[in-house]
């Protein structure tokens, strides 16, 4: 068994999470109970084991109602427990080892500390992700997510599940129990029924918590709490009838399912909202308060890179009602200025003008939301990329940092990540990573002197890429095998097609489309480096490739002029046709290489995503100087954007470059753009035309930060003055002053248009 490192950061965490309400001793007892259930159920079916474990954390981990909550359902998670994603807790039966160690440090009694040690010991062999890591990780090519020494990282997680909440609303809890009971029974089906019964217990617990919250409150608050209580009791045994009931049912289900991206809530909740408003049961202001409360509940989960609520776009059943919900969300989003939910607007030809105007106002206020997705490009792109029909493609949704899945129909978790730039540097360096001297390609790579033409080098790089693509598909696929061996993801499976019909858990053949994604990084640094080599070495013959590479190996020290020539070579982001064409060629090679491997493996899809959290910066720290002129350790380009400082030709040029890549080859690509409030607000009509034209030219997505000159710089010096200065990092927004200095610097390097 290879010795692997399972202890370390496992996800990007900027937002500070709210500590558990339970005392450390209570937490320890819960984790022990969970562990015992896991041990005791070792001989049972995985579904039965899962429900037995869930019963030890639900409902006990639910925390009390806060004074302005209008929905019930606040959930703690501990270093040991059950989950789907690394952002809250972990994956399957999980232990987050570094958090468990930290927990241990908080304990004062030696006896309790020893009990933690026993847990640590047990979970080393049973944590689902650790089991996966043991199979897949090695000392050279493949590292844990996040361990940036490697050119390739792999993980096991079930990110971005977008459940069928319409089905939940249609059947309600009792209806779902009946539905599952009516099908042929097996351990999975029976455990699913048990899960739904457990959900009822969870609801009973919420009723208790509401009761507790009734102490010493005024009449208005009492009325709210009474509504909460009545609606909880109602949805326990009925399908929801009102907007508030629907919201409550959705929310409590999302809690137990451990999902952190929510999907097209406009089409789910809109009809309830509209009916209540039309029939005079609900005032617009109360509806606003409920949505605002939802916003706060989502913010309080602090998942940093998730919390997607998606509105608008093609393929909605209840357009008018959904748009009503959208308008409410836009108001709430502008007023709250939270970093989550990641509020996402899908735009298409029929998006009402007032919604677009509200969206621009919201962005112009500096909220960074909504992020804009262009259905006219994305729907046909998804149709091709995922090999699905138009109707299915219309149900695409971005999750996390921007990966697409199909609502209720596909798994698309990004369990593999490639650093294209590190791989390129390794190719230039005989297959050895100059950062640690380790060989990371198991075959001989041609020496630099042997390349007569540019294409010789490019082909050799592609050969090395192919090797990493092969590793990627195996690692992605194996993550499903391991997760499936250990867990059923019961609550998720119940609301995913076609698990109940097939009587199979999600990863056991239940889900309709088994997809996956691969996050690629350093795309643009690599293509810029390739272009600089092409022109300086092979066209102008100003330098030999070895001269350039040797200079990079010493971080360009003593080679300032050479580096200046590299930096002055044309760069992606400036609408330079030849340079953009090479970037596109590399993009298509990588995108098609990954996609084809998914098809060959029999998956529904396996696509690259050019999304980003902050891994471009983290991985940049461990990536040597590169021939685009970038220095050792410096951040790499964010998502699909140019390297900071490289785009010097204005926003139309950058957007033209961005629109080069055909969306049909990827599974989500995100692009940032930054304007001053002056330009965004005073030149609003021109900005609208700018975006509109970009979208017509094939632009798939846009995320906008509106911030003034000097503000970010000042916030670095005086963080206390900027508690709500929100910036779009890439696939997530953050309060600027909460970011680490290196991430702040990367943001500052990006062009600000004025």
């Amino acid at each position: 068994m290879a010795k692997i490192n399972i202890d370390g950061e496992q996800n990007v965490e900027v937002s500070v999470q709210i500590p558990s309400e339970k005392t450390p001793s209570e937490q320890l007892a819960i984790m022990e109970a969970y562990t015992k259930a896991h041990q005791d159920s070792a001989g049972l079916d995985k579904a039965e084991r899962e429900i037995n474990c869930l019963k030890t954390i639900f409902p006990v981990l639910f925390r009390s109602i806060e004074e302005d909550d209008l929905l019930a359902g606040r959930l703690d998670f501990l270093p040991i427990g059950f989950g789907s994603v690394t952002s809250i807790g972990g994956v399957g039966h999980y232990c987050v080892f570094h958090k468990l160690r930290k927990f241990k440090d908080e304990l004062t009694s030696e006896e309790e500390r020893q009990r933690v040690d026993a847990l640590y010991e047990y979970w080393q062999d049973h944590d689902v992700k650790a089991i996966y890591c043991r199979d897949v990780l090695n000392d050279t090519t493949t590292g844990r997510f996040i361990d940036c020494d490697y050119p390739f990282m792999a993980t096991a997680r079930l990110s971005g599940m977008m459940l069928d909440y319409k089905k939940l609303m249609k059947y309600g809890i009792p209806g779902l129990i009946d539905l599952i009971s009516s099908k042929p029974q097996n351990a999975f089906m029976q455990s699913s029924i048990e899960s739904l019964k457990l959900l009822k217990v969870v609801i009973d617990k919420q009723v208790e918590l509401v009761h507790e919250a009734k102490q010493d409150v005024d009449a208005a608050r009492l009325a709210d709490l009474k509504l909460m209580e009545n609606d909880l009791l109602y949805i326990r045994d009925h399908t929801p009838k009102t907007f508030h009931q629907a919201l409550q049912l959705f929310w409590i289900y999302a809690m137990v399912a451990g999902v952190i991206n929510y999907g097209r809530m406009d089409d789910v909740l809109g009809p309830y909202l509209k009916r209540d408003l039309d029939e005079g049961r609900l005032s617009e202001e109360d509806a606003y308060r409920y949505v605002r409360s939802l916003w706060k509940m989502i913010e309080n989960r602090r998942t940093t890179v998730n919390g997607r609520i998606i509105v608008g776009g093609r393929g909605r059943e209840h357009v008018e009602a959904a748009d009503m919900f959208t308008r409410l969300c836009l108001r709430v989003c502008k007023d709250t200025r939270y970093v989550e939910p990641q509020f996402t607007l899908r735009i298409y030809e029929e998006t009402p003008q007032d919604i677009l105007d509200m969206a621009y106002d919201c962005i112009g206020s500096g909220a960074t939301y909504p992020t804009l997705y262009n259905d006219e490009v994305n729907v046909p792109a998804v149709e091709y990329a995922m090999r699905v029909d138009r109707k299915t493609a219309e149900q695409y949704v971005p999750f996390g940092c921007g990966e697409f899945v199909i609502t209720a129909k596909s798994v698309g978790t990004p369990n593999t990540l490639l650093n294209l730039l590190k791989i390129f540097n390794i190719t230039l360096n005989d297959g050895i990573d100059s950062m640690d001297g380790k060989r990371k390609v198991p075959f001989a790579v041609k020496p630099l002197e042997s390349y007569v033409r540019f294409d010789d080098l490019y082909s050799e790089y592609k050969k090395v890429l192919d090797y990493y693509f092969d590793l990627s598909i195996e690692a992605q696929y194996h993550s499903y095998d391991v997760m499936n061996k250990e867990v059923s993801f019961l609550f998720t499976s119940i609301l995913m097609d076609d698990c109940i019909e097939r009587g199979k858990a999600l990863l056991d053949g239940g889900v309709l489309i088994l997809g996956g994604t691969n996050e690629t990084y350093g795309n643009i640094n690599t293509s810029d480096a390739l272009y600089a080599i092409k022109t300086l070495v092979f066209e102008q013959e100003k330098y030999t490739l070895k001269e350039l590479h040797d200079a990079a190996l010493v971080n360009f020290e003593g080679h300032a002029k050479l580096r200046k020539d590299l930096l002055n070579a044309p760069k992606y982001g400036n609408d330079h046709k030849a340079c953009d064409a090479l970037a596109n060629d590399l993009f298509e090679y990588v995108a098609n290489g990954i996609r084809q491997r998914g098809i060959d493996k029999g998956m529904g899809y396996y696509l690259i995503v050019i999304s980003n959290n902050q891994t471009n910066t983290d991985w940049g720290h461990k990536t040597d100087a590169s021939l685009d002129g970038r220095l050792r350790g410096v951040f790499m380009n964010p998502a699909n954007n140019p390297q900071g400082g490289a785009a010097k030709s204005g926003p139309t040029a950058t957007l033209n470059s961005l629109a080069t890549f055909k969306a049909k080859y990827h599974g989500g690509s995100v692009q940032n753009i930054k304007f001053t409030p002056r330009m965004f607000n005073e030149d609003r009509e021109k900005i609208k035309i700018l975006f509109d034209t970009y979208f017509k030219k094939g632009g798939c997505q846009l995320m906008v930060t509106v911030v003034d000159h000097g503000i970010l710089e000042d916030a670095q010096k005086h963080p206390d003055n900027y508690p709500d200065l929100i910036v779009r990092v890439a696939g997530y927004s953050a309060v600027f002053v909460n970011l680490t200095k290196d991430i702040q610097e990367e943001l500052l390097s990006r062009e600000l248009y004025d």
């Binding site: 300032a560 002029k561 580096r563 200046k564 930096l567 002055n568 609408d575 030709s649 204005g650 926003p651 139309t652 040029a653 033209n656 330009m679 030149d683 009509e685 021109k686 035309i689 700018l690 509109d692 034209t693 017509k696 030219k697 248009y753």
Partner: protein, 295 residues
């Protein structure tokens, strides 16, 4: 070929819609507040960025004509000695030296401008030719605007009006809009500070169809920022049938460029805010003029 010192895309204040501005070298005037002083010389010139200079003196050592020296650790450049600007610029390791201005083919300029055609079409925008003073390169200018018109672009030209009246007849069919500078109403003041002949400006203004003109007035403290002068300009505009006037409040965008030309900034630094000029909007109405503050 045409001498260009900058092409700026997504310009939003130099004519209608989204535009690209082509900045041409050469100007007969020398307005001290000039936002683009590097444009006044018709030839390429050297710009020096003190912030980027690490005083390695590579430029001095590599200059074949000894045009660069460092005196008391300060960069000095004698353009009368320089025979080839490119040498020091190429050798500078930090990019502190840069050349402003290059001869471009019409085709290259047009290609660059056409990259944003979709944005012009969507916004009723187009191309604006600015400078410097575009008319100083009249033959090339004429050829270029013909190329633009051939592409069906909306063409605006930004001019100070100091050019031969005979040019208008030739170029006018290819120009949709003149962003015409009128800096003063007093001939002596204009000659003394800007170095031009206002009677030529008046004559040219009166030759062009006023419907194709937006009169632009850079409002500069200690020059024309007084009610009498500004009102006289509005009145003059009315007499010749101009309906649209822009007052552009004095800014210091040119200052850093003077620094990079290693020249002292030759005017005061008492800039104006938009608000300072808002009262003129109502005044202009009395002259049947739509006044906009800012471009």
């Amino acid at each position: 070929m045409i001498n260009v010192f900058n092409i700026e895309r997504f310009a939003t204040h130099d004519g209608p819609g989204i535009r690209t501005v082509v900045f041409l070298k050469g100007c007969p005037l020398h307005c001290p507040w000039c936002a683009n002083p590097e444009s006044q010389d018709p030839n390429p010139i050297l710009l020096y960025d003190k912030k980027k200079c690490i005083k390695c003196r590579t430029c001095e050592y590599s200059c074949p004509s000894k045009a660069i020296t460092f005196v008391d650790d300060e960069f000095h450049y004698d353009d009368s000695k320089c025979k080839n600007l490119q040498v020091c610029v190429d050798n500078c390791p930090t990019g502190a030296l840069e050349i402003s201005g290059k001869a471009m083919s019409y085709a290259d300029v047009v290609e660059e401008v056409m990259k944003d055609i979709d944005y012009y079409e969507a916004s009723d925008g187009g191309v604006t030719i600015s400078g410097g003073e575009p008319f100083t390169q009249f033959k090339s200018l004429l050829a270029l605007v013909k190329e633009f018109k051939h592409k069906n672009l909306h063409v605006a030209i930004e001019t100070c009006g100091n050019f031969s009246n005979s040019y208008i007849e030739e170029i006018d069919p290819y120009i949709d809009l003149y962003l015409f500078d009128l800096k003063h109403i007093d001939k002596n003041m204009y000659r003394e500070i800007c170095g031009g002949d206002l009677s030529i400006v008046f004559k040219n203004l009166e030759t062009i169809d006023p419907r194709k003109v937006i009169l632009r007035v850079p409002v500069i403290t200690e020059f024309n920022y007084d009610p009498k002068t500004l009102e006289a300009i509005l009145k003059y505009a009315q007499t010749i049938g101009i309906k649209k006037v822009n007052f552009l409040p004095y800014h210091l965008l040119g200052k850093s460029k003077y620094e990079r030309m290693i020249k002292p900034y030759p005017w005061n630094e008492n800039t104006l805010n938009k608000e300072d000029l808002f009262p003129y909007i109502d005044i202009a109405k009395a002259y049947d003029i739509e006044l906009k503050v800012g471009g």
